[in-house]
Subunit: 308 residues, 4 copies
Amino acid sequence: MPDPAAPGPSAEPRLRGIVPPLVTPFAADGGLDLASFEANLESYAREDLGGYVVLGSNGEAVFLEEDEKLALIRTTRRRAGTRLLLVGTGLESTRATIAFTRKAADEGADAALVVTPHYYKSRMTADALQRHFEAVADASSVPIYLYSIPSFTGLAWPPGLAGALAAHPRIVGMKESAGDLGLIGRIVASVPPSFPVICGSAPVMYPALCVGAAAGILAVADCAPGPAAALYAAFRAGDHAEARRLQEALTPLAVAVTSTHGIAGLKMAMDLAGRRGGAVRSPLSPLPPAAREELRGLLARAEAACRR
Amino acid sequence: MPDPAAPGPSAEPRLRGIVPPLVTPFAADGGLDLASFEANLESYAREDLGGYVVLGSNGEAVFLEEDEKLALIRTTRRRAGTRLLLVGTGLESTRATIAFTRKAADEGADAALVVTPHYYKSRMTADALQRHFEAVADASSVPIYLYSIPSFTGLAWPPGLAGALAAHPRIVGMKESAGDLGLIGRIVASVPPSFPVICGSAPVMYPALCVGAAAGILAVADCAPGPAAALYAAFRAGDHAEARRLQEALTPLAVAVTSTHGIAGLKMAMDLAGRRGGAVRSPLSPLPPAAREELRGLLARAEAACRR
Amino acid sequence: MPDPAAPGPSAEPRLRGIVPPLVTPFAADGGLDLASFEANLESYAREDLGGYVVLGSNGEAVFLEEDEKLALIRTTRRRAGTRLLLVGTGLESTRATIAFTRKAADEGADAALVVTPHYYKSRMTADALQRHFEAVADASSVPIYLYSIPSFTGLAWPPGLAGALAAHPRIVGMKESAGDLGLIGRIVASVPPSFPVICGSAPVMYPALCVGAAAGILAVADCAPGPAAALYAAFRAGDHAEARRLQEALTPLAVAVTSTHGIAGLKMAMDLAGRRGGAVRSPLSPLPPAAREELRGLLARAEAACRR
Amino acid sequence: MPDPAAPGPSAEPRLRGIVPPLVTPFAADGGLDLASFEANLESYAREDLGGYVVLGSNGEAVFLEEDEKLALIRTTRRRAGTRLLLVGTGLESTRATIAFTRKAADEGADAALVVTPHYYKSRMTADALQRHFEAVADASSVPIYLYSIPSFTGLAWPPGLAGALAAHPRIVGMKESAGDLGLIGRIVASVPPSFPVICGSAPVMYPALCVGAAAGILAVADCAPGPAAALYAAFRAGDHAEARRLQEALTPLAVAVTSTHGIAGLKMAMDLAGRRGGAVRSPLSPLPPAAREELRGLLARAEAACRR
C-alpha cells in the first residue's frame, strides 16, 4: 500500500476544460471494436479537450469484462498523448475497486474516477462511503476523483462528504452528475480551490462554471466536442453572453443524447457526426429509425451555433 | 369573464429583482398579528426590492382562513406603494382558484401566483394543468404567474408546459422553486423575453440569473433583504465575481431558513434581524432554542458579506 | 374542550365490514347534486355495508366549500340510519381541523377521519404528527380515526405512530391506504384488539383481513358494494378460498377505478352500475369514452363472481 | 443454444416451502470461508426447507469474484442432496448473464434466479426487460426464475411482464421481493398455477401465501429457519390462526435482519443462533455491539413462538 503521508499528487495536472466520456464501440459479433475506438480518439485529438474518461457510465462499463476494460485503457493511453486519462474503476466492493484501480494505474491511468457503490443503497451512509473512498485512496498509486450519478445509482450525495474527503492527499476532485447547482455550489465552497468540481450534466454546464466548476465530463462532447469546448472557452474568456448562447444551442442535443435517447442516442449522434458509435449492448435497446432525423437536426443546430 | 382577446397586461410592470414572500405573524391567541405584518412591510420599504408576495408557501397560506387572507392582501396593498403585489391564489379546484383570484384582484393584487393543484397527483398531467391554468387566466382580471414547488406539491413541472401557456395573454411569468437549473434554462428558452422566469430557490439565485431568470422570490430575503438585493444588483451590473461571492455568503443562511429549519427557522431569523417573525401555526413545530445561535451566526455572515 | 379523562368512546360501535367512501355528484352548473347523492345512499341502504365515509379523497373533499361539506354530512346523517358515519375532517392546520371536526360532529358525524397534514412534508415528523392528532382528539367530542394515504399526501406513515396514538381515549382506529401489508401487520401488532385497522386499498383487502384488518374503506364499494361485501363475509365465515376467489374477481375493477382512471373512472362505473356518479370537478379530467366499455366489462366480471 | 421447442423443464421439481438465501462467510483475510459455509449447509440439512439460494442479494453476490461464486455453487451442490439449488446469475449485460448462467448450470445449479438489470434504470422498460429475460432463457439449459427487488435495483416491476414471460418454456417462476401484495396477487392471477410466485419479504409471508405465493426466499430463514418453516407448514395445514401468530412473532426479527440492520445484522443473528455469519465485506459496515442484545431478544421471541 502506498504511504498516505508521501507527497500527494500535487504535481499532477488538474482536470480543466471539456472531457468526453468515451463510448465503447462493438463489432458485429458483439465484441470490442478497438479500431473504431481508436478512430474516435484520433478525431478527438484535433479538438480542444481537457482529457479523456474511459469506462464511465456512457462507456457501458457495467457491460464490459475485465479484459475488455484493460484493452480500452491501454488503447486510450497510447492515443492520449499528454492529455489526462481518467478511468472509471468503481465497483461494488472496496476490495474489487482497489484491485481494479491498481490494474488501471498499471495500464497508464492518470487518475481513477470512482463511482459510489450503490447496490445496498440504504447502507451507503456518509460514513460508509467515506470509509470506502478513503480505503481506495489509501491503496491507490494514482489520484482519485469522487463520482456521484444518482440517476443510475439511486443514491444522493451527502452534502458534507466531499469536504471531508478533500483532506485526503490522493482524493483530488469530484464529478457531480445530478446537475444540482445548489449541491455543486456547496461542494465548491467546501473544498480547496485546487480541488476541481466537475460538472457531469451538459444542460447546466454554463451555470456550473459560474458557481465554480472547473471542468465538464459531458456525453454531448462525444458527438459535438466543438460546441462544448467553445462554451467552455467563452466562459474562460469572460464572455458570459456567448457562453449562455452556446449553452442554449447545446442543451437540446445534450438532452436528446442522455435523458431522451440514452447511450443508443449518443452513439447514433456520433455516427451522424462522422465518428463511430454503433450498437449498444443488450439489454440496452437500439433506437427507432425516426430518432435519426431528430438527432441530425439537433447536431446541425449545435454545430451552427459554434461556427457563428 | 374578461375578454381574452382584449389587450393583455403588456403595460403592466414586469417582475424584476428580489421579492420577499411575506411571512404571516400570529398573535398570542393564534390569530393574525397585522401590526407585526405592517411593521415588516415598513422595514422592507427601505430595501431595494422588486415587489411583494403575499400568501405564498412561506406565508403559511395553507393554514389561513379566507378572511385572514383578504386582510393580508388589503394590508399589503395599502403599504406596497407602487411596488408590484403578487398574491398566491392557487387552490385545489379550478372554480375555487378562480373565485379567490377575483377576490384577491378586488383587494388590490397586481397579479396572481397560482401553484399547481396537486392532491390528485397522478391525474395532474400536462394537459390537465394546462386546462386549469388557462381557465383561471381566462376568468381573471389580473395577470397570472405560474408556480411550481415540487418539495411541497410532490409534482414535477412538465418541461413543455410553460412555453405552451406563455401564449395566453394573461399568463405572464413563472416561479420555479425546485432550483433545477436545467429546467429553468429550458423554460427561459421556450418563452418570450418579456415573460419573466422567477427563481424560487436562493442557493441557486446567481446561476439562475446567469441562465436568464429575471427575478427571485426568496425566503431568505425576508430576513436578509440587503444581501439578496446586493447579489441581484451585482449581477445586473455585470459583476459576476461579486455576485458569486455574495451567493456563497448567502447560501448557508438560505439553506438554514428553508431545508434545515423551515418556516420556523425563517421566522426566528427575522426576529434576530429586528423584524417580526414569531410563532408558526401547528402542525409546524417551534425550533429548539439551540438553533438561535446558529441562525445568528449565519445572518451575521450574510450581512457582513454585503457590507464589505 | 372535552375532558380527556372522561370515559372514552368505548361504548361507540367500532367500524367493521365494508364501507364506501361516498362520491360527490355535481349538477350541470357545477354545484352539488344532493338529489343524486341521496339516491346513492338509498341504493346503498339495501347493501351489506358497515357504514359510510363522507368527505374522503374519493369524495373530492379538497374541491368542496365548507357549506357544501356541511350539506353532505347533514344529508348522509339523515339517510344513514344507525350505520356509522365517518367524516373526513382533516385540513392542513391543527386549528382548522379542530374547528371543522366540531362542525362535523354538530351535523351528526359519529367519528372523524383525519388525514395527515402534508403540504410541509419535510416538517411532518412523527412528533409533529403526534402533536397534531392529539390536539385534534383532545378538542373533539367524537372519536378520531387516523388516515394515511401516501399516494395523495406524499407522506409515509411512521411505523410506531399508531401504537403511540392508540393510547389516547378518543383515537380509536386507523385507515391505511397504501396497501402496505407489512405496515398494516405492524400496526395491528402495536394497537389493542379494539382499535380497528382499516384497509383503504381494495386489491389487498383479503390479505389485509388475514393479517388483522377489521374493515375496508374501498372506492370499489361505491360501484360494486355487493362483491366487496361478499368478500368480507366469506372471510368472516372462514372461507379463505372463496374470499381469495372474490378478491381476484374484484381486483381488476378496483385497479381501474383508482390507479388507472381515478375518480372519473369511479364515477363512470357508478353510472354504469345504475348509481349516480356524473362529472368530476376540474382540474380532474373527464375520461375518454373508450373507458366505458372497459369498465362495463370489469363490473360485469366482479358482479358475476359474486352471484356464483 | 438449447432448442426452445424442446420439452421444457416440466419434469423439474417446482419450488415450494421456505428457502434460505445463503450468506457468504468470509475468513479473517477477507477471502471466502468455505468451511463455515459448509457448516451452515450442514445445519440447514436438518431443517424443513424447500431448497437453497446461493449468490442472492443476501449472499453479497455483487461483492464476489467469479471464482468465488463458482466455489460457492460447487460446495452447495455437493451438500444440497436432492434439494433444489437456485443460483443468482443476473448481471448487467445480457451476454454476461448468459455466460454466467451456463457456468452455474455446469456447476450443478438446478435453476437460475435472474435479477432485473438496473444500472441504466430509465432504459429498462418492460420491452427491454422482456427481451433480456427471453434471451437468457433461450440460451440457458436450466430453468429461469425472474427476480425483482426494487429496494436494491431502484426498478419497479412492470405489472404485465410476468404473465408475458411465463409463456416461455424455460421461465418457470418469479421472486417478488418488494412485499407488494397487490402486485403479487396480480402476478399470481396472470401466470399458470404451475408457475410459482415466490415471496421475498418475510414480514408479508403469511398474507403472500394467502393470495397464492408458493414459496418464500427469506433472509430470516438463514437465522431462524424453524419458525419460518413452521409458518409455512401451518398455512399448508390450513391453520390460518397459527400462521398469523407465527408471522407476528417472526416479523420483528425479519425487519431487524433486513431493513434495520441489513446483512451485517443477518450475519450477527446467525452467529447468535449457532450458525456462522461473521463479517460483511466493505463498504458494508459492521454493526455496533449494542445491536447484539436486540437481535438476541428477537431471535428468542421467534424461536419461542415456534416451540409453543
